[in-house]
Amino acid sequence: MKRTPDEERVLERMAPGVLSRDGFLGADPRPLNEILATDQAEVDGLGVTHAAIAARLRAVLLAARDAFGRSVPVGEGLSAVYHEAMGRIPSPWPGEGVFPKGEIELADQRSGHTICYTPLSVHLIEAHGFYEGRGSRYRLEPSEICRMLGLGEASA
């Protein structure tokens, strides 16, 4: 399917080396529309919304941010560390502003699993339902986040 100029621009900005070293699509062979649609369907199936997921991730980010690199408890069996970094990174969707660099490590002591995301991740999920491509460092699987954070049907 032909892409619009706006979609082309977003894809250009998602490529490695444009806004970040590795870009936003990882090794995902799927077109962006398919990535978005698949994750949308998964989120709908979990009985949650992108906004709810983003809100929870933002709450974790804010709690960790105020600890300046120290690990903080953020829920039952969960701890988070915010590694701040110098600089800002813009959204790949043009005109949406810039976001602090740095990453949040959210660890689940119950499963031993850890996920990584950024302040920009929270915005991309909230504004676009974009969880990044598979293989990207900051790719978040909706079902996994919901299970960790006790959201929707994944937590049942």
Partner: protein, 367 residues
């Protein structure tokens, strides 16, 4: 089938011809000619070929406006006040400017095209900014994720700067990164040796420039940088100082303290430096040596999360908690802060609560 193929080829051919006509038309008909850029009410006047961005036009004339993203309109460093001739604000500029900046005619110079004569205002110190070819003398590890680069200037071979200022280091195109990018780093060396500069660089996961520094840059490599930039520096007052930093925020203070030591600037100063674990702490011995030499200087390193059983004998807790414990009346003091936005914001709150006047708080937010 042949008819469909022929029709497809015809449409493609017509589209290509139309595109070519448009390109030629733009070049021939939309020619802006020579435009004048008046800088600071006639202090400098440039004649440039119209059609390019303001940033590119200035850089082509060796006037370097800070820019980290290579003109992609993402870093918002390249703000310039355009008094006349800029045209309407573009959609890629708006999200990067505050209402106050828009009202003050500030523009994102890499997104603003020069299509007619323009009048701009830039800070005077930008006239002193130059581009430098330099060679990396040494790369040493300060911690597991922070390196110290010692860089010798080649052409020009001297860089005059004020302790506290920064340069922009260029990471060249490499791997999947098609274009060079610039990133700002505070100079960690004192201004006394104008032939060499030191930079303290912390690895940013997925960062374009820091990945290049950590994985590709070698001693002996040539690099490009420009500077000096920035207003972060010692004030002219004699007020006692509180310094607060974390991580690579150490850099300007390492420059300033050595400058003070060399020049005999005996201003009372307490430096609070925060890190997470012992492996994140660095230059402790060097600062302790200066502390031993001068009774006006106190160094207070603090760990927020030392490992259980750690032999760390310094302060423990978040650096802001340590500042809160140890600083008393701040009404006659000044604050100097360098680090992440989160640290700066928290530190400002603490020292303002101690009475340090807002106009006596200086900071270099790493953003």
């Amino acid at each position: 089938m042949i008819t469909v193929l022929a029709a497809t080829l015809l449409v493609a051919g017509v589209s290509a011809v139309l595109a070519a006509i448009l390109l030629v038309a733009e070049r021939r008909l939309v020619a802006y000619g020579t435009c004048t850029i008046d800088i600071n009410q006639g202090a400098r006047t440039l004649e440039v070929e119209g059609g390019g961005t303001l940033l590119a036009s200035l850089m082509a004339n060796r006037i370097f406006i800070p820019s980290a993203c290579g003109g992609r309109g993402t870093c918002a460093y390249c703000k310039v006040k355009v008094l006349e001739g800029a045209g309407p604000l573009g959609p890629t500029e708006e999200p990067l400017l505050s209402k106050e900046e828009v009202a003050a005619n500030v523009r994102i110079s890499c997104q603003c095209k020069v299509r007619q004569n323009v009048r701009i205002e830039i800070p005077e110190h930008l006239f002193s900014v130059k581009e430098y070819r330099a060679r990396v003398e040494t790369i040493s590890d300060l911690t597991h994720d922070i390196k110290l680069l010692r860089i010798r200037l080649l052409d020009p071979d001297t860089l005059e700067f004020v302790a506290g200022q920064y340069v922009q280091l260029q990471a060249p195109a490499y791997g999947d990164n098609p274009d060079p990018v610039y990133r700002a780093y505070s100079m960690a060396s004192p201004p006394s040796d104008s032939h060499v500069i030191e930079l303290i660089i912390r690895l940013v996961p997925g960062g374009i420039c820091t990945t290049w520094v950590f994985e590709m840059l070698k001693e002996g490599d040539e690099v490009l940088l420009n500077g000096p930039y920035g207003d972060f520096r010692l004030s002219d007052s004699q007020r006692e100082m509180i310094w607060i930093a974390g991580g690579s925020g150490m850099a300007p203070f390492w420059s300033i303290i050595r400058h003070m030591d060399e020049k005999g600037i005996a201003r009372k100063c307490t430096y609070f430096f925060g890190a997470n674990k012992k492996r994140d702490m660095f230059l402790v011995d060097e600062f302790r040596a200066i502390e031993k030499k001068h009774d006006w200087f106190t160094f207070v390193p603090a760990l927020s999360d030392p490992a259980a059983g750690s032999d760390w004998d310094g302060e423990r807790g978040l650096i802001t908690e340590v500042v809160d414990r140890r600083v008393e009346a701040g009404g006659e003091k000044e604050g100097y802060l360098c680090g992440s936005p989160g640290l700066i914001n928290a530190a400002i709150k603490i020292i303002k609560a101690k009475g340090v006047p807002e106009n006596c708080i200086y900071y270099d937010k790493f953003e």
